[in-house]
Subunit: 286 residues, 2 copies
């Protein structure tokens, strides 16, 4: 058996020609990836996996990834018995990982943070856009708060803030800047949370509260918002109102995004991303 027989050409990325090895593709980092798509007897999977691992070892491969869709989770036990661990999981699949060399693995860490936004939207009458939520801690307490939400997978923070405001209140907005952000830990299981306070400029005023999540939404005089006992009570909210006031009154500068390309950490072509920084302070120098 040729040691290269399990590696695929780019025209045939998941070759099954050699039935004694698992189909795999080489990754860019000296490792291999296998994605199981069809049911297989677990004992057959075990023997193919063992043969494949021997083969990958001979080839000097490092990391091994096995992606198991939900309906093939019955194969996971075989991989665990060969020393695989869980790298991450999404709704429909589990990703298992293994490191062939004897040294410490250099596989990327699993995602550790959720990203959320809170939206500060104030109109020309110094009224702030606030909502009462149907679920969660604050339901039924008459507390008016900024629209908040989770940034979707793959979504830019600023896009997420505009989308959440639109979904919850029907108000169109333009992103201005990130005023502050907060990191907390163990917000759910072992995961952490990054919460970005975004300032947005309203482009429309009419409110259409989202039925599923929002009890009520309104434009509320800023002073009235800040006087709520709920806002006064919590340290974070007092800071947030101070920062928002400082922004509206002028003089406070947060972080504004610009689109920049950057070298990929894994050696891929330059990546596009958003760099958020204090544009006023930087550009005032030029």
């Amino acid at each position: 058996m040729m040691s290269a027989s399990s590696s695929s050409s780019s025209s045939n990325p998941m070759s099954r020609e050699d039935a004694t090895l698992l189909p795999s593709i080489d990754d860019k980092y000296g490792g291999v990836r296998t994605e199981m798509t069809h049911p297989m007897d677990p004992s057959l999977f075990s023997s193919l996996l063992r043969a494949s691992l021997s083969n990958w070892t001979l080839q000097g491969k490092k990391g091994v990834w096995i992606k198991l869709p939900k309906h093939l989770i019955g194969l996971a036990e075989s991989a665990v018995k060969e020393g695989f661990w869980f790298h991450h999981a999404e709704k429909d699949y589990l990703m298992l990982a293994y490191w062939i060399p004897k040294d410490v693995h250099t596989l990327p860490a699993n995602a550790s943070h959720r990203v959320r936004i809170g939206a500060y939207v104030i109109n020309h009458n110094k009224e702030v856009l606030v909502v009462q939520e149907k679920t969660g801690q604050f339901q039924g307490q008459g507390i008016w708060k900024f629209p908040t939400g989770v940034v979707n997978e793959g979504e830019d923070i600023h896009d997420g803030s505009v989308r959440e405001v639109k979904e919850e209140t029907g108000v169109d907005t333009e992103f201005v800047q990130i005023l502050a952000f907060r990191q907390t830990h163990k917000t759910f299981f072992e995961k952490s949370d990054l919460f970005f306070v975004c300032m947005l400029k309203p482009l429309s005023l009419e409110i259409n509260a989202q039925e599923s999540e929002i009890e009520a939404a309104q434009w509320m005089p800023w002073e009235e918002y800040t006087k709520q006992p709920f806002v006064q009570k919590h340290e974070l909210l007092r800071y947030m109102t101070d920062i928002c006031s400082a922004k509206t009154d002028g003089g406070y500068e947060g972080s504004t995004p610009i689109r920049v390309s950057a070298p990929d950490q894994q050696g891929a072509p330059d990546q596009q991303g958003n760099l958020y920084y204090n544009t006023r302070d930087l550009h005032s120098r030029h």
Copy 2:
């Protein structure tokens, strides 16, 4: 069978008294959590799970969590057949989730971002702390770059930056502020990346480069660092050098952390966290 028999009292959180139901504890959000710890025949697990789901449904429970340690992954197939999906996985366990009500679930999203730091450490001679890495894209190319690293699970960003600099170079530092941050997507699989550029003040000068990851480390004159073709070539690095220069020359303000408590989004007691904001602009108003 009493419908309450699967719920535990706080003194006996994982009661096994009733062998026809899975042990579970109520969570704070109207759901239940089951953590499997001992091997069980998959067909027994299936029948216990079905009985438990009926029971939880009668009780009006919403979310159901099943945590399976790696060595019990053989039970996952039974849960998938009952309609469970994967919520997340860590090295040693898979968390499965299920939503009993007919409406859209309100379970928290899986973590979507990794958090990394880059450290700008400059001494009184205007020399910047730079490293050459042993692995990755830049190995063997003679490129000097800022120390970078992944923030650990549960670690504050500023603590992560101080730790990474110490690990990679042996230099002790004090965190100053976050100068800028960048969000990129699909940096590994579907996950996103938040990269925080941190300024740190050196507290020691002697360098002890980390053997496993770092080829070399040195204090390099700032001008020499910025003149590297690698730095000149990449848009992100040009911005970063401009921002770092603006910080050192004075006038540029980033985000400084303060410890604040905040209302927990899930209704738990107030959480401690770090709020990062432009302290200069806020405090200059007072």
